[in-house]
């Protein structure tokens, strides 16, 4: 007969705790000695990550304890490419930064190079008004898609199709203006590529009337929709001081309570002559971010209408042969214009030595260009301060402590674009 041995079964928690006690000072990988936490990889290819973003989540049941975003899956080397291109040759790359609002990127880049050259105040008024119209159209387009994708992720699939219909109308307008549906490459250093086509203003005004109806429809579908409100209210709260510390900008910052809008505080182009309001949120949750974006779109419509009323006539580029390509007829007949054309195309605009930073209010936040120039037509260093990159850095704070199913709502409400974040 075998002896019955009393085996003392140690409580797993107690054994883990004693082991932990010894190792607590070390990394928090060991805090999961009991094996309760699950590491989940929300991979780069995921329907709701709006691009290629990888998040490594550490879950304790349904609650997220740690979130580590892994960006860089769309890093294309824009900044290094910029060091090998002239300023004008780099404009197509700026389209593809925030590819939902390419006109706004073009304008921001052109303004920063013009600031470096000191000609940003000398732009003709017609050019400035058209640039404002382009920026605001881009803002409407970007917010429409951001909200459509956000609503689709949260479950409201109809909104996505409605917003896409309006975006198709914007694409028609932009195509008649620039030649491409998006990826416009419309601005040039010192002005614009070409002037507005005939009847464009009238078509745009017709579009604006229609899009306001669409905003009302979207609001009717979402703003008091119980499911949408339950999924987004008090989810992903970003307090104002945390937002400022993380460098968050744009609608996300304004939803957290700051009324800082670069168009009001440091007005560029003709924003100081235009009358518009800046929507500010109170709580800083996903619902506030949604409301801020809807209201911003309405204000954009207001801005465009004012621009159409005040649109002056005149040239759309400054009249300097050393910056802007001369007219083709003059190039083919005049010597001086021929030389200007040759130098501009092969060597680029002549910039002074110095460094400059210019930030514009893009739909996603503050898009900034830091240009360090040692003279000549190519930048020595061009740094793109991408708002989505900085907004994403606040993700570990936002996701920590929230539920797994809120991840999608939070990601959708931050409204980032990987093309911009990774450059």
């Amino acid at each position: 007969m075998a002896d019955v041995k009393d085996i003392e079964i140690k409580d797993t928690a107690a054994s883990a705790a004693s082991a932990l006690g010894a190792a607590e000072a070390q990394s928090d990988d060991l805090s999961d000695l009991e094996g309760e936490k699950l590491t989940l990889n929300m991979g780069p290819s995921h329907p709701s990550t709006h691009g290629v973003l990888r998040i490594v989540l550490e879950l304790d049941g349904e609650v997220i304890t740690k979130a580590d975003p892994d960006v860089g899956y769309l890093h294309r080397g824009d900044e290094k490419i910029a060091e090998n291109m002239t300023y004008t040759q780099f404009i197509p790359y700026t389209d593809r930064l925030d590819y939902l609002a390419p006109l706004a990127n073009n304008v921001a880049y052109a303004l920063s190079v013009e600031k470096l050259m000191g000609i940003d105040k000398a732009l003709p008024p017609r050019c400035q008004y058209i640039r404002v119209i382009c920026c605001e159209l881009a803002r409407i387009s970007a917010h429409l898609l951001g909200l459509g994708a956000f609503a689709m992720d949260v479950g409201a699939m109809t909104v996505f199709l409605h917003t896409f219909t309006e975006r198709e109308k914007i694409y028609n307008l932009i195509e008649s203006l620039t030649g491409a549906r998006f990826t416009t490459t419309y601005t040039r250093i010192g002005g614009l590529a070409r002037d507005l086509p005939e009847n464009w203003v009238r078509e745009c005004e017709q579009f604006l009337d229609g899009v306001e109806v669409n905003f009302d429809e979207t609001e009717r579908l979402l703003t008091r929709n119980k499911i949408f409100v339950d999924r987004t209210k008090d989810v992903g709260v970003l307090p104002l001081d945390v937002a400022i510390d993380y460098g968050v900008s744009g609608p996300n910052l304004r939803a957290s309570g700051s009324n800082h809008d670069l168009r009001k505080v440091h007005p560029y182009l003709v924003y100081d002559q235009l009358d518009f309001d800046v929507p500010v949120g109170t709580v800083g949750d996903c619902y506030d971010r949604y409301l801020v974006r809807i209201e911003e779109m309405r204000q954009s419509v207001r801005i465009i209408r004012q621009c159409f009323k005040n649109l002056p006539d005149g040239p759309v580029s400054i009249d300097d042969g050393k910056t802007v390509l001369p007219k083709k007829e003059k190039v083919l007949t005049g010597m001086e214009e021929l030389i200007h054309q040759f130098i501009l195309v092969t060597q680029g605009v002549d910039t002074p030595k110095g460094q400059v930073y210019f930030g514009a209010e893009n739909p996603k936040g503050e898009l900034g260009f830091y240009i360090n120039s040692k003279g000549g037509g190519t930048p020595h260093r061009l740094k793109i301060r991408a708002p989505s990159f900085v907004n994403l850095s606040a993700l570990p704070y936002l996701l920590k402590g929230s539920m797994m199913s809120d991840t999608v709502a939070i990601l959708g409400s931050i409204d980032f674009v990987m093309g911009e974040s990774d450059r």
Partner: protein, 194 residues
């Protein structure tokens, strides 16, 4: 607005006269040279708490290949209250390639510094989690340095990623006039006959 920035820059200079050098102004922006980068954290802490620069807009790095010190780290600061910009430029030499991190001052510096480490190879002392952010872990080069070619270099990291040099043939997308034909100027084009 420029006067506010000048006043704040003067205050900062007075508080840290050993660490800061000259102020220069270009296009309405003030740039302050940091002569002693080891004190950058104290300078930034003072700027944030005393002078109200609560928003770090951007941290960039510049590679002046051939000069000594080789690298520059540029801090672009802004304050929501007084709405003034100020830029600090700190130089880092190539041998040490290390500068104190300002993550404890502004949390946003975390990702910016990781990107500078990834692209330029400058290490940040005191950074909580310094690893590559845009390229994959284990990529052996620092792409934004001037001595690294735009086309890239061949690397192989099994199960993670590989990379091959891109066909540039002498310049960004320029078929050099004077190369014999399209084939040699553009290596990936396929001709009908072959």
């Amino acid at each position: 607005m420029s006067t506010t920035a000048k006043r704040l820059a003067q205050k900062l200079k007075k508080a840290f006269s050993t660490a800061l050098g000259s102020v220069s102004e270009f296009r309405d922006e003030l740039t302050l040279i940091v002569t002693d980068p080891a004190q950058i954290k104290d300078v930034c802490q003072y700027a944030k708490t005393e002078l109200g620069f609560d928003y770090l807009v951007d941290v960039s790095s510049v590679d002046n290949y051939g000069e000594d010190p080789r690298f520059e780290v540029v801090y672009e600061m802004y304050g929501y209250e007084h709405q003034a910009h100020l830029r600090l430029v700190a130089t880092v030499s190539e041998e040490s390639a290390v500068i104190p991190s300002v993550t404890s001052v502004w949390k946003t510096a975390d990702w910016h510094e990781r990107e500078i480490y990834d692209m330029m190879g400058i290490s940040f002392e005191g950074h909580p989690d310094l690893r590559r952010i845009l390229m994959w872990e284990g990529y052996p080069y620092f792409p934004l340095r001037k001595d690294f070619p735009l086309a890239g270099k061949a690397t192989e990291l099994p199960e993670v990623a590989f990379s091959k040099p891109a066909p540039l043939e002498g310049g960004p997308f320029v078929t050099t006039a004077g190369s014999e034909d399209r084939q040699r100027g553009e290596p990936r084009s396929k001709s009908v006959s072959s």
